[in-house]
């Protein structure tokens, strides 16, 4: 048996022993997802057991080095773990912006001290992070942001407002873009880290069309951000005034994460699930709807292959650095189409906004939520701009 085959066998065994049956069900409600953090509570014992087992094994962040809380898996091993988890439908043991966004940025730009402290906290689900990028006047044109940090020697005094800060009201810390030099648009932004419990930080939820409000406006009113949190642990990532490089790198990971929603790890056609569901309820699927589903499944299954290829290429350092933009564009557009079809297949049942049977109107809420996929993390139009400029190298602008 090759080492990888051995690893696969061990992984299978470990998952069998450690991933409870309840954690192999599709996510149905918001609290089925565990986000960690200072004030986190577990929904049930199974969620707790699964998280703790994964954490102790380093499987909340399998490919991070062991000294930072990961399992130090090679790309090939990480792929096997993903495949084996997908094969049993295992939920992620821990979801967090720390894992998807800040972590990769710290791995690339952080100091040893920052990595030791923050990466371990993230891997162990102790601190929940949120992302402070967008401002009311700066969305797509992010570099125009105005939140200002005045240099006070060993700290900054930060004033300004962020918007669309996902889960700001539940987050412990924020990674935040702050202007520290008003003369240079690009080379005047610092990527700061600070505690949301500190004085002067407040949040206000924003209600979305889906009826949920996991998004907030975040206000910074004379917030004191230290330049250092101890030896070799600055309060900012990368260099002062060079936070834009970090921000852009991180956006790549954010786009990768969002694009993942378009496909699935398994070769399953969603038409199957939808028609079965309809049949169970005595509904008939119109032949025209069936053909829409079939054409959708062609696109979705092809995108699943693209997602796998993309991962393989990323891990091997092949592929174009702007490729995440393409993945984000295609993945989010597909996910929106998927939910349009699910609404149609569900018929009037999908219209129930509040009901027991439909689990609190999950279908219409999810459908509405997906509309943000092609906006958050950079809009589809912005993705197309980047593809045409950086990959196709079209002229202008």
């Amino acid at each position: 048996m090759s080492d990888l085959e051995k690893f696969r066998a061990e992984t299978r065994e470990w998952l069998e022993a450690n991933c409870p049956e309840e954690m192999r069900q599709p996510v149905r409600e918001d609290d089925d997802v565990y986000w960690g953090g200072r004030n986190a509570t577990f929904k049930n014992d199974a969620q707790k057991a699964w998280f703790e087992a994964a954490r102790d094994k380093g499987y909340t962040v399998p490919s991070w080095p062991k000294e930072y809380g990961g399992a130090g898996l090679s790309p090939a091993e990480a792929k096997i773990l993903r495949q084996e988890m997908a094969a049993i439908g295992a939920r992620p043991p821990l979801s967090s912006f720390g894992i998807w966004m800040l972590g990769p940025a710290l791995l690339k730009f952080g100091t040893e001290g920052q990595k030791k402290r923050f990466l371990n906290e993230i891997a162990r689900g102790e601190i929940r992070w949120c992302q402070g990028y967008s401002e009311p006047g700066s969305g797509s044109d992010l570099v125009s942001m105005q939140t200002y940090g005045e240099d006070k020697g060993d700290h900054w005094i930060v004033n300004g407002q962020k918007i669309w800060t996902s889960y700001a009201d539940k987050a412990d810390w924020i990674f935040c873009l702050v202007r520290t030099n008003k003369d240079d648009k690009y080379k005047g932004i610092t990527f700061m880290l600070f505690d949301m419990a500190g004085e002067g930080v407040s949040t206000k939820p924003i209600l979305l069309i889906s009826g949920n409000s996991p998004f907030c406006e975040t206000f910074m009113d004379n917030v004191k951000v230290p330049k250092s949190y101890g030896e070799d642990c600055p309060g900012y990532v990368g260099e002062i005034n060079r936070g834009w490089d970090v921000a852009k790198y991180l956006l790549g990971h954010e786009r990768e994460m969002i694009s993942g929603m378009g496909g699935g790890d398994r070769l399953t056609a969603i038409g199957t699930a939808m028609t079965r569901h309809a049949a169970k309820n005595g509904d008939e699927i119109d032949p025209v709807l069936r053909s829409e589903m079939a054409l959708f499944d062609v696109d979705a299954l092809a995108f699943t292959a693209m997602a796998e290829k993309f991962m393989d290429e990323m891990k091997a350092g092949k592929g174009h650095p702007a490729q995440p933009n393409m993945m984000k564009y295609v993945g989010t557009e597909i996910n929106k189409r998927r939910h349009e079809l699910m609404m149609s297949a569900g018929g009037s049942r999908s219209l129930e906004w509040e009901s027991e049977e439909t689990r609190g109107g999950k279908a219409p809420r999810d459908w509405l939520r997906t509309k943000a996929n092609s906006i958050e993390g950079g809009t589809s139009e912005v993705m197309l701009n980047v593809i045409s400029k950086r990959i196709l190298e079209l002229p202008g602008g």
């Binding site: 197309l384 196709l392 002229p395």
Partner: protein
């Protein structure tokens, strides 16, 4: 398997790319033969050269004198064929017929494979009997006669039928037209008595034959595989051909897209390069994304087929359908973004549109394969 080419495959891709661009390019092959109204629609000289490059016998096993490579490798050659719109018997002979012959007796192999590997012989496959691909329905009949068979019926749109030394014919030896079982494959030589061909030129200037079998007498040893058990071989042949057509389609799409993106960087209107207009940039970026996704589906299907995975069938249909859609978009946007010049015969972009149309139809169009995705998925 990671979804990118290994080092060996990347080397093969380099040499195939160089070779096709040099020898298989549009002016040397497609236009050359088309403008001479060539009855074959391709050049036998290039076919010999492809043999010297080691392409012709890629899918033939090493035991049978070939290279024993897989669908990923054949796809590499096909992508370059697509990119250059190179007319050649590669898809019909080296992919489809070679796959069928892989299931043949050593006698038949000995008769046909050396000629294929040498680039001396050209083969065709005769499956469809109507204008739309419908391999579930086979009406052509082969009745037992002495120790052989008597073949009657007709086949339509047999690509390169009239130029082939041998045609693999799917016929019915028992049951009714729609039955799954009762199919037998035959190797029918070009000079068989009672076979008549009516060749027609298609939109992409390739040649297709309408063939009639009027009591064609075949020896028992013309059977490929088992009598009545041909469906399995037919399916293997179709899978190879479909995944191959998808690979060629990726090349057509890429070729058309590259031409178009280049044009956007050269053509000036309103005092600007037209590539500066966001309305065109977004469409080009969308096109790029679609082509990349189609390419990923194709390599996934190739790998699954090479592994003999059960999901290969599903992924093959996904790839064939996705490529048809993406390449269709590439040629339509290509002609449109070229403006008036895209409508001229002198300019190559229209040739991509024509080839795409023929390739999209070959072995099942996007709708056929989307329907198959639904059926294989159980809805």
């Amino acid at each position: 398997m990671p979804l990118y080419h290994t080092e060996d495959q990347a080397m093969l891709a380099d040499s195939a790319r160089g070779f096709m661009a040099e020898e298989g390019n549009i002016s040397k092959q497609l236009r050359h033969w088309r403008d001479r109204n060539c009855k074959d629609g391709f050049g036998h000289g290039l076919w010999k050269q492809m043999a010297e490059m080691g392409f012709t016998g890629m899918l033939v096993s090493e035991d049978d004198g070939g290279l024993g490579m897989g669908h990923v490798e054949a796809g590499i050659v096909l992508e370059e064929i697509g990119r250059n719109l190179t007319p050649s018997p590669f898809l019909t002979s080296s992919v489809l017929a070679a796959t069928a012959l892989g299931h043949a007796s050593s006698d038949l192999k000995g008769r046909y494979l050396p000629g294929l590997i040498e680039g001396e012989s050209v083969f065709a496959v005769a499956i469809d009997e109507t204008a739309k691909h419908r391999p579930s329905r086979i009406g052509t009949r082969a009745e037992k006669s002495g120790n052989g068979f008597k073949l009657s019926g007709s086949k339509s749109f047999v690509i390169q039928g009239a130029s082939s030394d041998m045609i693999v014919v799917a016929a019915r030896t028992s049951g009714s037209d729609e039955d799954e079982d009762g199919i037998t494959l035959f190797a029918v030589p070009q000079d068989a008595d009672g076979m008549s061909q009516n060749p027609v030129r298609l939109v992409d200037s390739s040649m297709a034959s309408h063939i009639k079998f009027d009591g064609v007498e075949l020896d028992g040893d013309a059977v490929i595989g088992e009598v009545d058990g041909g469906r399995e071989v037919l399916n293997a042949m179709l899978a190879a051909g479909r995944v191959g057509a998808a690979a060629e389609g990726v090349g057509v799409a890429q070729g058309a897209m590259d031409m178009t993106v280049d044009y956007l960087k050269q053509r000036k209107q309103f005092g600007k390069l037209i590539g500066e207009f966001q309305a065109l940039q977004h469409r080009a970026a969308h096109l790029y994304s679609e082509v990349e996704v189609a390419r990923a589906a194709t390599i996934k299907a190739q790998q699954l087929l090479d592994e003999g995975a059960p999901s290969a069938d599903l992924m093959t249909s996904v790839a064939k359908a996705k490529v048809a859609k993406a390449a269709g978009l590439a040629v339509k946007e290509g002609v449109q973004m070229h403006g008036g010049i895209g409508m001229t015969d002198e300019y190559d972009i229209g040739l991509y549109m024509k080839r795409d149309r023929a390739l999209a139809e070959f072995l099942g169009d996007a709708y056929f394969h989307a329907n198959r995705v639904a059926q294989l998925s159980g809805y």
